[in-house]
Amino acid sequence: MTRVFIWNCQLPRIPSAWRERLRDFGTYASGALFTLGWWFFIDGLVLARTHEEFPVKFGFEDWIPGLLCTLGMIITNSIDLSLLRDDSFSYDGSGGLAGKAKLTLFIGIALLAGGLAGSIAILAIKYIVPQVDASVLYIGFTNVIQTCSILLSSIILWFVHNAEHDNQYNFVLN
């Protein structure tokens, strides 16, 4: 199996003392972003429930994008990229470990992207097309903010945990 896609990105110059702590700080930042997203969603939910005569019905379908993104984040960060790389020579086409890891990674990324797309779809269908006023439109945007920040936090966690401990990140997707 040949490597289709090799991506090298150079880190900005940071002091070497910080680089060792990068994993810790990245994990903290990722957790903070994840929680921030969910609190934005809860803010929209509480506003919608306490608002008198709220024009948009806030149902279970608004929960789905956030749940999908969270599930995708768990799946994506449960596998490590070295699993994709090591096994590729003994991959005989009958479903080796690398193939299964690749499929799992695909499902996780698809869940993340699907959650983001779903939140944008809900924003468009329930809030933009009926042309609600600005204070109600904010509640539609909380859904998109939620999925975006979960996606970002997932990316940060992935970057930080799969980084080689030298000057640059190497991502090899084959």
Binding site: T27, G31, A32, L36, W39, D43, V46, L47, T50, H161
Partner: protein, 122 residues
């Protein structure tokens, strides 16, 4: 001397949190101080998995999960009063008081842990 300052900070934090509830007759912000108070717990529990063997560079994913949970709890402590104030359940002043109080409690615990961990290091 450090202990006196830390305990005064802790007491002031609790006082601010309780005042933020009592002055407005609304006891929702008391959840915030609980959230800040239990936020060092994940690092304290999961941190033992790394400190036992400093040469092992693997299996720190448990500690990473602890860091993630800590961050979740701290941001929840900030987010809860902001959401409550935004939807008009508590007053804005109560939000500020409970955030400052919870932050004082959390900061006290963190500073205490760092100061007295170095002293026990041998």
């Amino acid at each position: 001397m450090t202990i006196v300052i830390l305990s005064v900070c802790l007491a002031a934090g609790f006082l601010l949190s309780i005042l933020s509830c009592a002055l407005y007759g609304n006891w929702w912000p008391l959840l915030v101080v609980f959230m800040f108070a239990i936020s060092p717990v994940p690092n304290a529990v999961f941190g033992r998995f790394v400190s036992s063997d400093p040469l092992a560079d693997v299996s720190s994913s448990v500690a990473d999960f602890g860091r993630f949970l800590t961050s979740v709890l701290v941001v929840s402590g900030l987010g809860l009063p902001v959401v409550l104030a935004h939807s008009g359940i508590i007053a804005n002043a109560a939000m500020v008081m409970s955030v400052v109080g919870g932050g004082l409690v959390y900061g006290t615990i963190i500073v205490y842990a760092t100061v007295f961990r170095e002293r026990q290091d041998f």
